[in-house]
Amino acid sequence: MAHDYRRPTGGRIDRNRKLRFHFNGKPYDGFEGDTLASALIANGVSVTARSFKYHRPRGIVGSGVEEPASLVELEGADASANNQITTVAIRSGLRAKSVNCWPSAEFDLGAINQLFARLIPAGFYYKTFKWPSWHLFEPIIRRAAGLAAAPSDPPAHGHFEARHAHADVLIAGAGPSGLMAALVAGRAGARVFLADEATEAGGSLLSRTLQIDGRPAMDWVADAVAELAMMDNVTHLQNATVWAYREHNLVVVNERKPDHGALLERSWRVRARKVICATGAIERAMVFANNDRPGVMLVSAVQTYVNRYAAIPGNRAVVFTNNDSAYAAAADMAAAGISIAAIVDCRDSVSARNLEQVAGIEVLAGHVVTAAKGRKRIRAVTVSRRDGGTAREIRCDLLAHSGGWNPAVHLFSQSRGTLRYDPTIACFVPDVPAQPTLSVGAATGRMTLADALRTGAEAGSEAASACGFDSGPCDVPESDDIAYTIEPLWRVDTPGPSGKAFLDIQNDVSVDDVLLALREGYSNVEHVKRYTTGGMGIDQGKTGNINIIGTIAQHHGVNLRDVGTTTFRSPYTPVSFGAIAGLREESVLFPYRHTPITAWNQANGAVMYEAGARWRRPGYFPREGESFQDTVNRECRAVRERVGVYDGSPLGTFELKGRDVARFLDFIYTNVMSNLKPGNGRYGLMLSDDGLILDDGVAFRIDEHRWVVSTSTGHADAIHQHMEKILQTLRPDWQVYVTTVTSQWNNATVCGPKAREVMTALGTSIDLSPESFPFMSFRDGTVAGLPARVMRVSFTGELSYEVNVAPRHMRMLWDRVMKAGASFDIEPVGSEASHVLRVEKGFLSLGHEVDGTVDPYDLGMSWVMSKTKADFLGKRSVDLRRQGSRRRRELVGLLPLDPNRAIPEGAPLTPGGRKEATEGVTTACVWSVVQNRWVGLGLIENGRTRHGETAYARLKDGAIPAIITAPVFHDLEGERLRS
């Protein structure tokens, strides 16, 4: 029987390329160029889906992205959840199945829901399922909802990518108006970016049998496409949906299968000087009883199937319309061999030009279709006069209906342009653009081909000229379309229980549901949407929302303008997340930052940690048979007793140059920096303007107007921004140039009592004696034969030399340090040991003691708060806070009474260890190799006055008592680091 549903000739399909595919487990054949929908129609399949809530049988309604009823899940290599059946191109081996039905769309047990239909009107779930608990019902509801299953794996083959483009004129849509605009703007020389969602250009012309300049319109399309292809300044994409329109004329385009290789989809971010919305119009549904039955289709869809795909959706049709566009379609249907039983037009009079097109077909003016009959395929419709009277039944297996056209204003509205309701054509049209946007053709409500070509040409010319390209006078080709008139009909009132009339076919939202919402006071269009779920499906209500708006307007007795639309949001049609991300994942999204020693670290068994700012650093260097604690203790002892070395390269480093650097540093650090002599450095704290510690670091003066500043690793970027923000907003007149040199200098920091001996063994031009090279100074010279800048800073509390060299020398330096240090049993030190060493010394750490709540006084660092400077960043805030009465939490040491018991980091300190409000927190707790016990740091209220008292770290099952001490457990006087 299959041949009955395919016209013997014609259509934009390749009959030489037969393709076998599977739908719901059965094999079918189609042709290259078919969509899944057209191929199934050509195979006489009518039930292609089950509905969401009632599981009513559903067929194919539309022919493109407006399709509300039939969603399919793709299986195998194409695995993808919910796809409109009309947008899936068939290929050999395609496997698709209807979503949300079991065991099949043809026979679905879920249809039992229809028996309960009266119990489950709109919003029923807000009123019930409350007792004893929603948890009892939720799993069932969840399983019932959700449509298709999500793909369980990423695509097995292929990848996604993203591209950026700039255009003078971006045109969304390659129908007649878009092509015309592209031709005009392209000929003028503008950079044109033309993108269209369909497999080939032409838009509505693909479905219709119109003429341009006396030739078939598709010949004109072919010429236009060929001419555009010749223009270097034109990028023309098909299978490419403009799905988002952002600020500053940024549009995002999703291009599917751009080549025949491994590229699945490409995302284009196009910044355009002018955007032309040539997005066409979308036909809307009629609303009457059982308007969801298989065999009830949009007129434009039927026209598309017969003309574009040579597929015949039915043998005997009734056409139901409220506008003129259905007449040409009816003529095409008749030409395709479909017997047309009647054209039912709700308008009292039909123009002669319309009637001419359908000579010989009965036209029932002033009539409406009140109901469709048949379950899995319609067998008849009932028709009556619009003003009542007896119903007449007309036998048919296809009902083509047209509720008129909605301009596709989605992109225009996304761009924040306002809409206006045009009562003459009963639809919302673009009103005031918010960005440099032009709308043309059917996207503005002008429905004839002549208007499309003319407005396209005008917009192309205007846009090109706005970009400085003169198009000159342009010829607009002749066309033969007829005018469009419409009389709105938002729904057919059907007296009695003749069946559900659906406003949103995908979400099973009926007229009764919307009326119920309105009765219950959900009166705003957004309330109706949310209460009934109308318009919330995959199709986002492209064919049905207007009827909901019309129904609301009728109910309130107001104009549609006063009801308005729900918000049009991106995406225009669903876009895969893979395409949005492109290649950006994993290390493309979060790049690794390596030092020249990373490979060495890994080769030497380091466990690598994420160290902030995308750096990875060695956490520790375990040896065979060691526990974690063994390793850390070993590394710590190396530094305390002999010598250790670590790669300090990730530390944020900035070079500041300029006349005003000294006073700038005095402004951003709490202490005075400006009195430093060249060659010397100083530790300092930076505050935010809220008076809380932002960062700590060291500033070295190289010469009068040249400084090097170091920051913590993780905050380097934030501190850079902080400095630039001050320079650009608060002190724009100061001459300070900040350059990031983190990656221009690498360093090996040699630390421990034997550090000087290792340096000597390395060989250096620098006099290492403490008198000539004291703590907190730097010297330039050579180390191990390499040009180096050596700084005496210490984060471990031991004698330290930070040997900075150029990155190209870093690995050489490292190897020479390890070699020279071998006789001193030098060991590489990871961040775990560094943590222990700094806790023993009571050095603060960001994220631990400095947790976003402390100021320098809290940490016992009043010395760092300059008393001499008139002002510095954060001073006022610190003073203001100190005038308050809130007790401050102060840094203390914590010695657990049981020296072998660790306090978990982060454990709250509470009075007596009781379950009540905290008085502090344990910021760190480590096994100290110098104390041979656990030692901790914490912040506790009035801590400095409480040394010797017992604090209690509260756990879930008890408390750990600890003696409060000064926050330093090693070398109280700091003799070792100065040695």
Partner: protein, 416 residues
């Protein structure tokens, strides 16, 4: 208030649901009320409800520029949780979570409250340290937070197939917050609106406040709207994102910034993820709604802006981060996305307070304020009715800014 139940549903089914009453009235606008609440979002409606229910103040008008429930509650990722850091915050949110659990019964409106646990996927040690720090403090206030292994994490979230040992950011463990829940945001707005209305509160939609009005002594006197002047001695501003625009009409400046936040949903798919998944190191979180959509939120765009456009690069970062941990979502499709704005105080904690303008109250700075709707409404109503703060909200008044005694809820990072 008409009772909602399976029985009333069955009774009404017999007469084709023609006898349901209006969920709320549309009363005529009077020229004077005891209290005017500006904004019929979650906090505004809840405040009005508790004013009537707990404090017997029924001369309340909630005025709303658009439609009730149309504020940030309309575009929400509905994450209800109490895993905060500070002593001041935790008990407040614990209370709110508990109130949400009883809300369906309290309001006789099914909120579809689904206590389904939030699982934090942790990929860095600093984040793990911060979350663990919350754990023992939360325990003091009865909120649950437990550390789990990576294996347990993957057992609970089978779709989490990324973040392996070779990944850019390997997963190092997780935290489980069993108190966390999601529910239906519109139902929260409608439930409060219906119950408030039943107690005499008037809700006036399409009533836009153009300015606050002060009397000769500087005290609040009422509001100027597109429908005329309405007077009241007490006015509550509950207009997230627009707070500063409204209060500046009374010459009041507040320590708030407005910034943009976006959220998006995928196409609906069959149940795949049962818990709320939060990935703080990657900067996104999501849960699967009962309709089957993945409801996904990302990090905010830190730039200050009253606009609500979706910043494509911020959105792409969120999607990219998600795909690194959930690579199977590459073929999942984006269905709809939203841009919104909110106002945030410096310490990321809310402001519920009297102001320097006598009679003017604000509830603002809500950063994830959805979870706080019940407790926020109750405690603000307490403040408005009694003139003194409820103990749970006392820390959140504007007083804390006088001496910059912040309640830092922006984590333990110092660079904000």
């Amino acid at each position: 208030m008409q009772n909602y139940s399976i029985l009333s549903l069955a009774r009404n089914a017999v007469c084709s649901h023609r006898n349901w009453r209006q969920a709320w009235r549309s009363p005529p606008l009077k020229d004077r009320y005891d209290v005017i609440v500006i904004g019929a979002g979650g906090h505004g409606l809840a405040t009005a409800y508790y004013l009537a229910k707990e404090f017997g103040i029924t001369g309340v008008a909630v005025v709303e520029r658009g439609w009730l429930g149309g504020g940030n509650i309309a575009r929400n990722t509905v994450t209800i949780r109490s895993n905060y850091m500070r002593d001041e915050s935790i008990p407040f949110y614990v209370k709110s979570v508990a109130m949400f659990e009883g809300l369906t019964r309290e309001l006789n409106f099914n909120m579809m409250h689904s206590k389904r646990t939030m699982v934090d996927v942790v990929q860095t040690y600093p984040k793990m340290r911060e979350l663990r720090r919350r754990q023992l403090t939360m325990d003091i206030y009865g909120a649950t937070y437990e550390q789990i292994s990576t294996a347990e994490l993957r057992r609970r979230i089978p779709a989490l197939t990324g973040g392996g040992a070779d990944a850019r950011l390997p997963i190092i463990g997780g935290m489980v917050h069993t108190d966390a829940a999601v529910n239906r945001h519109d139902a929260v707005a409608w439930g409060y609106a219906r119950a408030a209305d039943a107690r005499g509160v008037e809700i006036h939609q399409q009533t836009a406040v153009k300015a606050l009005i002060r009397d000769g002594q500087g005290a609040i006197e009422g509001v100027e709207t597109n429908r005329g002047t309405i007077r009241a001695r007490k006015v509550v501003v509950a207009v997230s994102g627009h707070t500063t625009s409204v209060t500046e009409t009374a010459g009041l400046r507040l320590p708030l910034r407005t910034m943009n936040l976006t959220a998006f949903v995928s196409e609906p798919v069959k149940p795949l993820v049962d818990v709320i998944v939060n990935c703080p190191d990657s900067g996104f979180y999501f849960s699967q709604s009962d309709k089957g959509e993945m409801v996904i939120g990302g990090a905010p765009d830190m730039g200050q802006s009253f606009r609500r456009d979706i910043k494509q690069h911020v959105f792409e970062d969120t999607v990219s981060a998600m795909l690194s941990l959930f690579p199977a979502f590459k073929k999942l499709k984006l269905m709809r996305q939203w841009g919104g704005h909110l106002d945030i105080a410096h310490d990321a904690s809310p402001i519920m307070s009297k102001t320097d303008v006598e009679g003017l109250f604000v509830t603002a700075g809500w950063w994830g304020g959805y979870k706080a709707i019940p407790a926020g409404g109750l405690t603000l109503a307490h403040l408005v009715a009694k003139g003194a703060p409820h103990p749970l909200m006392a820390p959140f008044t504007l007083d804390r800014f006088r001496h910059l005694d912040f309640i830092m809820e922006s984590g333990t990072t110092t660079a904000r």
